[in-house]
């Protein structure tokens, strides 16, 4: 899929490092088609809150091995996701636009360890990964907007210094 991308960014794995930026559709659809993702996100947000995945307490329990809940959620999500991906590959299921579904392979770099540890620190402190931050804000924890802005700042600083840190 990368060969048909129109932008010419040749920066070090700038796209392949991010799964999100690799896959794209060939079929051009109007921007309002993105509204379906808003609906999926909405459902996802409801699930995150009702299952208390966005609860700071559940995250603390997970990292203290005091509750099985989070391990159950993530574990069963991976099992269902893996079965789905297996079925999609096995039966070569296409998208609703008739395109082949492409799943990019990730390449290892040391950032997955260093960055992973740093994110783990942040996860245990804020009790939230990026998705839950948005859900918490919507649910009424207005001060979480500070945490979200800082997460954006962290992303920006990473972009600024990424050439200088080990990968």
């Amino acid at each position: 899929m990368q060969n048909n991308t129109k932008d010419n960014n040749t920066d070090f794995e700038v796209r392949s490092l991010d799964a999100m930026c690799v896959n794209e559709e060939n079929v051009q659809t109007p921007a309002w088609h993105n509204l379906k993702y808003l609906v999926f996100g909405l459902l996802f947000g409801i699930v995150l809150i009702k299952s208390e995945v966005v609860s700071w307490y559940r995250i603390q329990e997970m990292f203290r091995l005091q509750s099985f809940h989070m391990f159950g959620v993530i574990g069963s999500a991976v099992v269902v996701g893996a079965i789905s991906v297996f079925i999609i590959k096995k039966f070569k299921i296409k998208t609703i636009n008739g395109e082949e579904i492409l799943l990019p392979n990730k390449t290892f770099n040391k950032g997955q360890i260093y960055g992973g540890l740093l994110f783990g620190f942040g996860w245990a402190m804020t009790g939230a990964c990026p998705g839950p931050l948005f859900a918490q804000l919507g649910y009424g924890a207005a001060a979480i907007s500070v945490t979200i802005l800082m997460a954006i700042a962290g992303t920006w600083v990473y972009g600024k210094i990424r050439e200088k840190i080990p990968h």
Binding site: C21, S55, W56, G72, V73, L118, C129, G138, T155
Partner: protein, 189 residues
């Protein structure tokens, strides 16, 4: 018990986990998108303040779907607060309640403890560290790792990617270190 009362209860893991897992094929089939959320933070940077940084020089409009998705999560939070809020207090493990009370955190309620995450707590040392520095680490760390819980732990592991397994183990290791070894110091501040 009516259906609406039933879904107002906290959902067990075996209901929530599989629904979250189904996000993977849903996004693939509806638009060839791989599940992941932290990239939205990068798209915000690329859209709002690229500052000639190569990492933010790309056509973020192509990734607009991701921003719709996170805006949906935000709206989902609002809708849940309006229509699906439970009246029951959150059930927290007794040993965690005891530990937190040792740090003076006694109001165990809501999604996050008010005494740590609120406008007022920004004026406290520990609140400032947890909200500001914690948020920074979430943004910096996820991008450095190339994904977060959704992109690596769920999408990556579903696709049997070894780098995602390494990243997921690192997330968990970082969380265990922070929660058990470092957080006690921060919470005592």
């Amino acid at each position: 018990m009516s259906f609406i009362e039933l879904i107002k209860q906290p959902w067990p893991w075996y209901v929530a986990g599989p629904i979250i897992g189904l996000m993977v094929p849903t996004l693939l089939i509806f638009g060839n998108k791989t599940f992941g959320i932290s990239s939205s933070l990068r798209h915000v940077c690329a859209a709002c303040m690229p500052a000639k940084i190569p990492f933010f020089q790309y056509d973020w409009k192509k990734e607009l779907w991701n921003l719709f998705f996170v805006f949906g999560i935000f709206l989902g939070g609002i809708l849940t607060a309006m229509f699906l809020k439970t009246e029951q207090p959150i059930v927290v493990d007794p040993s965690l309640v005891e530990e937190l009370s040792g740090y003076g955190i006694t109001a165990i309620d809501g999604l996050v403890p008010e005494q740590l995450f609120s406008w007022n707590s920004l004026g406290t040392t520990r609140g400032l560290i947890m909200m500001v520095f914690g948020g920074f680490l979430v943004g910096f760390g996820t991008r450095y790792a190339g994904g977060c819980t959704s992109g690596h732990a769920i999408m990556g592991l579903s696709n049997l990617q070894l780098p995602s397994l390494i990243a997921t183990i690192s997330f968990m290791a970082g969380g265990f270190i922070m929660a058990n070894l470092i957080l006690p110091f921060i919470l005592s501040l």
